[in-house]
């Protein structure tokens, strides 16, 4: 089987859910992770996210169906995913993190698994709920989010060989780093816009004058 999708990789992919620390250790140190698999997980999560917005029951679903766009959702989730990975990588590089960029990508992707697992039953349950029973839907979703959060935390901790405190601190700094990246990106985009605008201005000036 290929390098990215063999039996062992799927075995550790499953084990992440129940034994995150062990599995993430194997992923980091014995090359048992797979970035393509993480990206596929992300894609499936994005589909589940969009499905939740469309198919969740009328009682719990306040989304306007006209605003739902699966491609937009996917782009946003992918952007956030890449942003988080870059932010975390740039922070942990400077604070003695042992994880490589591909490990961070793998952890962030694998950690979305619980959300996929909980979204589908949540969508089904929401369709048989009435008013004042939304709590069941919210509990299922909340459970998924908590599980995912724990996986991210333990994953980042394991691949970088950090203590819990240091993990939490680096995660907070990661968020700051993400904001800085966004700021720089917007700045760069704006400046590029101005430069192209200048050249376009010169071009039209030249063509219209002659």
């Amino acid at each position: 089987m290929s390098k990215f999708f063999n039996k062992e990789i799927f075995y550790y992919y499953r084990r992440v859910l129940t034994n995150p620390i062990d599995s993430f250790y194997e992923i980091r140190h014995r090359e048992k992770g797979s970035v393509p698999l993480a990206l596929i997980t992300l894609l499936v999560f994005s589909i589940c996210f969009t499905m939740n917005r469309i198919f969740a029951g009328f009682i719990v679903n306040l989304t306007d169906p006209r605003t739902v766009n699966g491609i937009d959702d996917l782009t946003r989730i992918l952007l956030l995913f890449v942003l988080f990975s870059i932010g975390n990588w740039s922070v942990t590089c400077l604070s003695e993190g042992e994880g490589r960029f591909k490990d961070i990508l793998t952890v962030a992707g694998y950690a979305l698994m619980p959300l996929i697992i909980t979204y589908i039953p949540a969508i089904i349950v929401s369709n048989v709920l009435g008013e004042n029973e939304e709590i069941f839907y919210n509990i299922i979703l909340g459970f998924g989010f908590a599980w995912s959060g724990i996986l991210i935390l333990l994953g980042i901790m394991t691949i970088h060989n950090y203590t819990m405190l240091k993990t939490i601190v680096t995660l907070i700094i990661t968020i700051v780093a993400m904001l800085i990246v966004i700021f720089l990106a917007v700045l760069l985009f704006d400046m590029l816009n101005q430069v192209t605008g200048m050249f376009r201005g010169i071009y039209s000036e030249l063509t219209l004058r002659s």
Binding site: F58, I59, D64, V128, G130, E131, N132
Partner: protein
């Protein structure tokens, strides 16, 4: 030729059929739905002619400010600039003019008194005419042209010593209590009892200061504070009294969320705000363009039958109509110079199937007549108000034929299906009407029915599943045991 004849006949028959073409109106008719999206609707009201002083043969109006309809259907217009009151018959074809009344001075001598800028007019249930005689600082009460009483010089500890009473708008309830909006009187509506004594302020609009504003006030100096805008309550702009004695008042709400108030005898606001919680006219912030969004400038309000009330907006010349539950029924009207559009609408009144709007700048009374669409909605809401939901459904169905997007009609039909016991249809209509509360009731009943019918099957399936699971585990354990034995060897 014989073959063509039927065709020609059919064509002729088709042409002579009454055509229900859309009436061309010079304004938009629309509504805001559950998600505050703008939806255009058929016209609920169409222009039904203008009446000016010249038409009536009493000379042109001059900056008229107030209009009202008496219990006998006569229409009263306060012709402010000409210092007179014009009284029209219900058809608005003939008019008589009140320019003054016989008064007795302090010395007991009789003299002919006149008005000075009469602003608002209203008629009590007894047929007495109340005139806010603004620049004479008094309210004049007339009955058939004869003076009944004069309300002036309010005295109270709550009023400043140099307070000048300038009444603008007024309303009268069944007990002859007078509710007056005075000029720059932001403390509330002034209430006068049946003998004409000032009894107090009423229905003050609470001032809301946002957290952010509080935060900045903490850091600003005394000079900055004195330079900033004062937090004073908004003034009321119009007042109208319903048959039960509740006072409907309108105000200009800069946030565009609540421009109408329904005040109980204690002066508390008891208005119902509906699903959207929006009683401010056009929604704010703007949904699409500024033509339909941004806060409205509500200048007057009128209570109609069955708890329906209409508000008049000066910013875009709209008339907003709500029902007793605070649901938006329809919006129509616009600014312009064509017939049926306003330049400066200032007062609104209601008579039978017509809405009358007084335009100060055009110096005309503009009438609007209800269409089938408007009539059906009014009747359906009226029937629901009376508790006759079954008959209301028929009306709602008709409404739905004319505008199948109307959420209110869907909710009305859905509720009827719910009481009938047809839960599935109820769910469909209540979902279309975006009413989660009633949808949930229908849904729970539907769910219970399905469970009751299929309880046996569900339990049987569950039992089979359990047995299958048990057998599967048994087989698996046996298989695993064999495997162990093999590995041992």
């Amino acid at each position: 030729m014989k073959r063509i004849l039927p065709l020609v006949l059919a064509l002729a028959a088709f042409c002579t059929l009454p055509v229900f073409a859309a009436v061309d109106v010079p304004y938009d008719s629309y509504i805001f739905n559950y998600r505050q999206y703008l939806e255009f609707t058929p016209s609920p009201y169409i222009p039904d002619g203008n009446v000016s002083g010249v038409n009536l043969g009493v000379g042109a109006f001059s900056l008229p400010r107030g209009i009202c309809v008496g219990p006998d259907g006569r229409v009263y217009v306060a012709d402010t600039g000409n210092n007179r009151i014009v009284v029209m018959n219900p058809e608005m074809t003939e008019a008589e003019v009140i320019t003054g009344f016989a008064n007795t001075g302090e010395d007991g001598a009789a003299f002919d008194d006149t008005f000075n800028k009469p602003w608002g007019v209203t008629v009590s249930e007894k047929g007495q005419l109340y005139i806010a005689d603004s620049d004479n600082h008094r309210i004049v009460v007339l009955e058939e042209g004869e003076l009944v009483r004069i309300i002036q010089n309010p005295v109270s500890e709550m009023l400043a010593d140099d307070y000048v009473f300038i009444p603008l708008e007024l309303g009268v309830d069944y007990a002859d209590r007078v509710y007056v909006i005075g000029q720059s009187m932001f403390q509330g509506i002034m209430v006068f009892n049946e003998t004409g004594d000032f009894t107090g302020f009423y229905g003050t609009i609470p001032v809301t200061v946002s957290l952010w504003q509080r935060f900045w006030r903490l850091f600003s100096s005394q000079e900055q504070l004195s330079g900033s805008t004062l937090f004073i309550p908004t003034e009321f702009t119009g007042v109208s009294v319903d048959k039960e004695g509740f006072i409907y008042a309108s105000c200009i709400d800069p946030n565009g969320t609540q421009a109408a108030f329904r005040l109980n005898p204690k002066g508390e606001d008891v208005i119902q705000k509906g699903e959207n919680g929006n009683l401010g006219g056009d929604t704010y912030p703007a949904p699409n363009t500024l033509d339909y969004g941004g806060p409205s400038y509500i200048v007057d309000i009128v209570v109609r039958d069955k708890g329906i009330y209409s508000m008049l907006d000066r910013r875009r010349g709209r008339i907003f109509t709500y029902d007793d539950e605070g649901n938006l029924l329809y919006i129509f009207g616009g600014l312009g110079t064509q017939e049926g559009t306003f330049r400066q609408p200032s007062s609104i009144a209601y008579i039978g199937d017509r809405i009358l709007v007084l335009d100060t700048d055009r110096q005309e009374v503009m009438a609007f007549k209800e269409t089938d669409y408007g009539r059906l909605i009014n009747e359906a809401v009226g029937l629901r108000y009376d508790g006759d939901e079954k008959q209301a459904v028929e009306k709602w169905r008709e409404v739905l034929k004319l505008n199948e997007n109307l959420e209110l009609a869907n909710v009305g039909i859905g509720k009827a299906y719910l009481t009938e016991g047809n839960n599935k249809e109820a769910m469909r209509h209540l979902k279309l009407g975006m009413n989660r509360t009633y949808y949930s009731i229908a849904f729970k009943r539907y769910r219970n029915d399905i469970l009751k019918e299929n309880l046996g099957n569900i339990l049987t399936g569950f039992a089979i599943l359990l047995v299958a699971l048990y057998i599967w585990r048994l087989i698996r354990r046996r298989g695993a045991g064999k495997g162990d034995m093999v590995s041992d060897e």
